[in-house]
Amino acid sequence: MERESRIVMPGEQVSDKPERIGYAFVDKGRTYSTVVGLYSEGKLVPLEGPYEPLPDDMIVGIVSEVRFSGYSVDTNSAYAAFLSSREIRERYEMGDMIFARIQKTDETRSIELGEAKKLPEGRLVRVSAVKIPRIIGKKNSMVDMIRANTGCEVIAGRNGYVWITGKGDSNLAEKAIRMIEAQAHTHGLTDRVAAYLKSQKKA
């Protein structure tokens, strides 16, 4: 994202050769983008888009149904997720927030979850899933910075659900997340978020 890149549109050519690029397609020997995205050197990063569940994604979910053998979990995607009771030691109730790993997705896009952990009381912020890497930051730099300045823990699920918890200024933490979401594609964002958090802390 820090390198020279340009915004491309759906249907815009990114290469005059057939190339295997994510979020692109090949037609008559040329390669075109399918999304509004940032393109540079054979890589296309979508700027918006629905969450597409992948194995090993860490997601934030809401327990939506308690069933005999486990739990149905709302994961901000069109597909149902299931967490088997065998995968966990705790017991959940409807409405509990959990942080879990996607174990498996099948061809009908059903999601199997594991390694789940119940999240403490807090608030949920829904953001576009493609912005999550920016909200987490390089080696957790953004979430660490938000914690240091607001006293709130930020758990950002790959699925676009972000859970803010802790006794700190959760209102400021949410504002910082909204700022990152709106400016995810820009340069120097870490510095601007840092400056924003500092200015708000004083006020």
């Binding site: 809401i62 327990v63 939506s64 709302d74 409405g95 009381e121 807090g122 608030r123 959760s170 209102n171």
Partner: protein, 258 residues
């Protein structure tokens, strides 16, 4: 989704009991309000209003109609609301929901009972009067649609022009001046959770609160009211919120151009 309500109620309850709100507002603060009037050319009147992330457009249209048999010398006022499916993932296509009907009727009652439009001036001839239609288009839903819609309706009425009528027909595109509006009716909607009341509930707050109270006022009078939701309000609440509504009403009226 059902399971969200309990989470919202717990988190909201923890905040509200300390006199705080999720977005940092005071208990009696509105979110940011924008009002634009006279934005469309085809209808006689129009406005778009946003309160926070809620957005409502109102259109005013005149037609020739038959008067109601019990009011043969009066024009017809009709208000309706559409919760458009693009406004919220919670809204569906289809006939008006109970929520849309309640919304339109509350806005209508405020305007009607304060007599701010002189419907007797809409009389044309035997069996012929002007009908004024107020259509409320809900474009974005982030809570407190009633105040947003009421403000849009009022904004649209204040921008509305009287159509020229000749030989019992409306001459489209020609006008005889502004529609006379006697006063500005505004509504203040409060949420209640436990024993705490707060103005202008957001969608998150609506999901968690016990009940809602809307008070429509003119300067000095209450002119319509509606309680919604399972929770209760006390007489003391009503008296206090009435006073607050009169005060807050001044702020809202200041946003509406004459």
């Amino acid at each position: 989704m059902e399971s969200m309500n309990e989470i919202k109620r717990d988190t909201l309850g923890a905040l509200i009991s300390q006199g705080k709100r999720g977005d940092g507002r005071g208990m009696l603060d509105y979110r940011k309000i924008n009002v634009q009037g006279g934005i469309l050319q085809n209808p006689e009147g129009s406005a778009i209003v946003s309160i926070g992330k809620s957005q409502v457009m109102a259109g005013i249209k005149f037609d020739i109609a038959k008067p109601f048999p019990d009011r043969p010398k009066e024009g017809v006022l009709s208000t309706s609301a559409d919760l458009l499916p693009l406004a919220s993932h919670l809204f569906e296509t289809g006939p008006p929901s109970d929520e849309a009907i309640e919304l339109a009727r509350v806005v209508d009652r405020g305007i009607r009972s304060a007599n701010i439009i002189d419907l007797s001036s809409f009389y044309i001839d035997d069996e012929k009067v002007l009908a004024v239609y107020i259509d409320l288009f809900i474009l974005d839903h982030d809570g407190n649609l009633i105040d947003t819609a009421a403000l849009a309706a009022m904004g649209a009425l204040l921008s509305a022009r009287m159509p020229k009528v000749e030989e019992g027909k409306i001459i489209r595109g020609e006008f005889t001046g502004k529609v006379p509006i006697k006063e500005k009716v505004v509504t203040c909607t409060f949420g209640k959770l436990g024993d705490k009341a707060f103005l202008d509930p957001s969608l998150d707050e609506e999901k968690g609160m016990d009940c809602r109270l809307t008070l429509a006022t003119t300067p000095g009078h209450l002119c319509a009211a509606q309680k919604g939701g399972w929770g209760a309000v006390s007489e003391k609440d009503l008296m206090e919120l009435f006073d607050i509504s009169l005060e807050k009403g001044k702020e809202l009226r200041a946003l509406l151009n004459d």
